[in-house]
Every structure is written in structure tokens, then in C-alpha cells.
Amino acid sequence: MEGQEEIIKMRNHITSVIEETWGIVLVLICIVLGNGDSFELGLELLRTGNIIEGFLAVGGISILLLIICLWRINRWYRTTLTLKEGNVIYERRTLNRYVNNIAVANISNINLEQNIFERIVGTCKVKLDTNSLSTANQTDLQIVLKKRDAERVKQLLLQMIRENEVTEQGENGLYETAEGLAENQVYRAAGGLAENQVHGAAEIPAEAPVHAAAGRSSSVGLNPLLENHLALDDDRVDFDIVYSTKDIVKNCLVTTYISMWILAAVVCVGIVLMIVEALIEEDNIWDVIGVILFQIMLEGTWLTTLVKRGLQDFKFRARRDGDKIYVSCGLLKKKKYTVPVDKINAVTVEYTFLGRLCKRGYVKVINVGGEGEDVDGMKILLADSYGELERKMKVLLPEFDLPEPSMLKKPPLRVLWLSLGKLALLFAIVIGGMFLGISAGGAIFDLTMEELTDIPANTLLYCCFGGLVLFLVLAGICLLHYLSAGIYQGDNLMLSRGILKKKILTINYQRIQYIHISQGLAERMAGLSRGYFTILASAMSQTQDIGCFGGEEFEEMAERFRQTY
């Protein structure tokens, strides 16, 4: 076994070609069906001997279809994913050759996803994310495999990550830290991928071959805990955190933005009014039905979003095993993701406006990678009361303590006065600018000031009232911003911010890349500072605003930051 290397090679499942091309094919078929005349013309041309024109008229679209399908199949055939020597190698050998080498140690997330099509055909997408900042907003690698193989590849990668971590502890660590394992114990590849297996449509044998990882002597057996995780079905695995349907419905309602609820209320009222009007005015019953259906479609958009949100958290479960968190959720689009705890850069507790009223927040972790709704963090706990979140965090992620709300220190009151003062100054500049603009307009159109300002008193009143309302709304926003702000500096840095929504961020100082502090003229006079810090995360989460606090808070932050290096 000494020095033996195992190369595991895979391709996307063939059904991924259908998944990628069905949209284009459907469009082209629709074009063909909608242009029956051109077919007749083409046939006529062929009959009269114009071969090329006839063939193009009849077969142009078909040829295009064929080219697209062949091109996709060629791309499928020449795209491979290889696990070799502790690296994941993604290779595409088409016209533009593309090779991406990723060391297993740099993998930050391993996710499994299944959309409806994949569930029908029995395949699953394996998505890998790394610590790379250049690909922070996208998935680094993904491959579509049969569900069983996807689970096995995931477990194999986790095992490789674990081995890599054990190796970094030193040669002896390889033998000592693996639980209860004897030397020379044969290591079995998680899930039966045969040597040099190139996976196309063929089934992968169930028997696990002997495998020596990365050229070392075979010495690491399977962690008994990991054995459980080879279970292919979530129902065979015990999760630490399981939510009932009632919890999921509550989560869905509470995490829907207030704007959506307002929109829904407005649309509902609109629907009722339109229907009443149609019933009164329209003679034809079909016109009335048409109005009703149209209105339902408008409302349906909101309802679809609500249902989609509920379904994406359907059967949400999470567990902690060693240094990884496993999450499984989703109905139409099943997602399973694995987050190594050491790659978590920060934890956020988020409250929507409704959540703040109901005192229910949900927890997300920030690490590098993820796309779509995961780009600003991955959810690990659904909306729940604070006490419950604390209890669940102790189980799932004890490394990050959730702050007691009372621990967070509010910014000094002069922060609020400063923001209101800036707002007043802005309004003064705008009104002054409007005045200058009116003067300029008078000069352009050769009108005197009296003629220009000969505006009806009512109009002037409405404008002033509108301006006042706008000022009060913006002042309200400043107040809400001030009330949501908070800071706590202990072993971890905790920051609270928001306006209607609220977010409490917890981060260890070691995860901060650098700190930027700034002071404008007004801040200097008031003894305040504002700033931000950056972390290793996607573009949306990379820069974290600290907010405006007293200068002494920033000095303490800088000092605590310095102690980490």
C-alpha cells in the first residue's frame, strides 16, 4: 500500500446535458412550430431544385438544434472532475482548455443540491466552495452525479479534508488522533468509487476498494462517527436541531419582509375594488373572470414568493459533528450543505421588522463561497426566540456566543444629534439650491421673481408639507438607526445595526483582515469616529460597517485587534 495513489475520475451525469439544453431546444421547437410556412416554402424550393436554399429553409433550425446538442455533448464528454493526491482537479478540454486545481484544505463548503428535474431523474449536484476571494460570489466547482454517488463523493471529500487536517498535526498525529484505530488499518474509500473509474452513465460498484490517500501508507480507518454519515438518506441520521412544520410556517411568516406584507395588503384591496368595479360595469361574465384571474396573477407573485420561502426551509435540520456543521433543507430544491467550523468567519443573528416585533431572529454564518441567496451567509438556524437560539447555538456552534441584548452598549446620544444635524444641513442645501434654480429659471425665461413665485398658496402649502413629511421620515430613519446600533467588545466583537431590519454580527478579532477608521469634521468636533473592517467573505459580506461610536470604542477595538497578532 505504501506509495500507492488512487485517482478517482468523474464526469457529470448525462442528464445534465438535457438540463442545460432543454430551454434552448424548447425555444427552437417553438420557432419551428410557429413558422410552418417556411417549411412549406423549403419543401417547394427542394422540389424546384434549389437544394441549398430549400435545405436551409427546412433544416436550418434543425441543424442549429443538432449543433447545439452535439456541442453540449462534446463539452460534457470533455469535462471531468478528478480527485488526486489531496487535490480536486476540474478539467474542461474543449476549444478553451480550462484546468482548475483546488487543494482539499482550501475547501470551505461542500453542498448537495437537488432541483425538481434532478429529483425526477435521481441525480444530485455536488457544489464545492473554497476560501478564494476571487470566486467568493460563485460556486467554485460543481458536478452532477447520481444521488448515491454524490453522497459518497461528499463523504470522501470530507474524509480527505479530515486526513489533511490530521496530517498537518504531524506524522504521528495521523495515527494518534484517529479514534481507536490500529496502524496499517485499511482505509476504505467512502462510497465505493473504483480505481480510475470514469463515471458516465455507468453504475458505480457498491463494494469499496482499498484506497491509499495521497501516497501515504494506508493507515487511517473510518471514524466510527463518519460511518453514520455514509447513510444516504437523512432519515437514517440523527440531527441535533429539527424543526416542526409549525416552526417552519412561523419562520416563513416572520422572515417575510414588511414591504411584501404591505404590498400584499395593497394588492388585496386593489383586487377587491377591481372585482367590484368589474361586477358593476362589465356586462360580459368572461370579462369579469378575466379581471379576477389577472388580479390573482398579480397576487400570486407574492404568494409564490412566500410559498417558495417556506419550501426552501422545509424539513430544515442541522447537526454538529466534530468540526463540521451539516444542514439539510428544502422540498422542491433539496439542499444539503456542510460548513467546516474553522472556515466560519462570522455569525449573524438577523431580525426582519416583523421578527423584531415578534422577537424572533434567525442565524446565518458568513464564510467564503455560496451563490444566490447564500452569498451573504448560510442559514444554520431558523427564526426562533432568543432563548431558543442561544440554546441551539450552544449545541451547534458553541465557539460563537450569542450576546445578551443587555450586553450591547448603545452609541452616545451625540451620534443621533450629529446625524439629525447633517440631515438638516442637507435640507438647507437642497432648499437653497432650489431657490438658486428658480432664480436661474427666472433669468432664462426672463421672468421677475414676483412673476415666478406667483404660485397658488395651496401649492406652496402642499410643497412645504411634503418637504416636512420627508424630513420627518428621514429623521425617523436616523432615530431607528440609532436605536438599532450597539457594540460589545469581549473575546469576540459584537455589532448591532439596522433600521427596520436588525442584524447582530459576532466575529472573532482574528478573523478581521484590516480595520479602517475615519473622522469627518463634525465627528472630530463631537469626539466620534466611524469605520469598517473587512473579512474573508463574498463581496456582499466582505466589508462590515462598524457604525458611528465614541472614539474610545475604536481605540479599544484597535487594541484588541492588535492582541491577535
Binding site: Y514, S518, I535, Q542, F561, Y565
Partner: protein
């Protein structure tokens, strides 16, 4: 390690940058006024001169204030920069977080024998400007050695 001040050449470099910017701004403003003058707008020249005066006053004053305020420090552990005119900015970057160190000189920097050191972390870049070229090269060498030391000590665990 104490904070360092910039070389006096930095004032010249900043001044040239500000003057160039002001010339461009003057051109844009003059173009706007010329266009409006065609439709006999009488009030605009007053505003034009006021804005122009403000821009040039700020441009001529800013380099001196910025020079007096600009401080940087490259210690064994971190890089700290403090600079600004109306807004004062401060950056603190630990050396162990650095991924890349670069040295850049624009055309105006080269005239004055200055350059900028750009350090890159996983969270973004921080630029330290207006440093004399020999000093900047020494800083970059020291940073590279320090980064390598960190990498080796991390590997040795």
C-alpha cells in the same frame, strides 16, 4: 516604532495632483458657463467665480494640511497609516494577514522620486502613498521577509 512623516517632496507631488484636478474642473465649469452664456443667463458667472475660488483655495491648501497630517508606521507586526484633509482616515493592517505587496509609481510620482506601497489582504487593499522610492523598496523587502517568516512559522506549527 514611531510614526514616520512623509518627505517634503510629497507636498510638491500632492500640489501637482491637486492643480491638475482643479484645471480639469475649471475647464468643465467654464464650458458649462460658456454654454449657458449663450442663452444670456446673468446669474451664473457669479456662481461660477464663487465655485472656482472655492475649488482653487481647497486645492492649494489641501496638500499642506495633508502633509502635516500624513503619518505611517511599518512595525514588525502591523502597518498603520493616518492621513486626510477634511476626513481623516486610519488603517490598521497586520502583516500576517498580507497576501501581496506591490510597489507602484505613477508619472507624477516618478517626477518627484516617490512611489506607493500597496498591500493586499483577503479583505482588500491598503495603499500608502508618497513614500520616497528607496524607502519604499526597503519597506517592501522587509515586508516580504516578514511575510515569509510568518508562512514558515505557520507551517512549523
Amino acid at each position: 516604532m514611531d510614526y514616520q512623516k512623509l518627505s517634503r517632496k510629497a507636498i510638491g507631488c500632492m500640489l501637482v495632483n491637486e492643480i491638475l484636478l482643479s484645471v480639469v474642473l475649471t475647464g468643465v465649469l467654464a464650458g458649462a458657463v460658456f454654454g449657458l452664456d449663450k442663452i444670456e443667463v446673468k446669474i451664473m458667472p457669479v456662481i461660477f467665480w464663487l465655485i472656482l475660488a472655492f475649488v482653487w483655495c481647497v486645492s492649494l491648501a489641501a496638500p499642506f494640511v495633508r502633509y502635516e497630517r500624513y503619518r505611517y508606521r511599518f512595525s514588525e507586526e502591523d502597518i498603520s497609516v493616518r492621513e486626510g484633509f477634511l476626513w481623516i482616515h486610519r488603517d490598521i493592517v497586520p502583516i500576517e494577514r498580507l497576501h501581496k505587496v506591490a510597489l507602484e509609481s505613477g508619472p507624477i510620482d516618478r517626477i518627484f522620486g516617490l512611489s506607493k506601497v500597496i498591500v493586499t489582504t483577503a479583505g482588500g487593499d491598503v495603499t500608502i502613498r508618497f513614500i520616497e522610492l528607496p524607502v519604499a523598496e526597503q519597506i517592501v523587502d522587509r515586508l516580504k521577509k516578514r511575510i515569509n517568516q510568518y508562512a514558515v512559522s505557520k507551517r512549523e506549527g
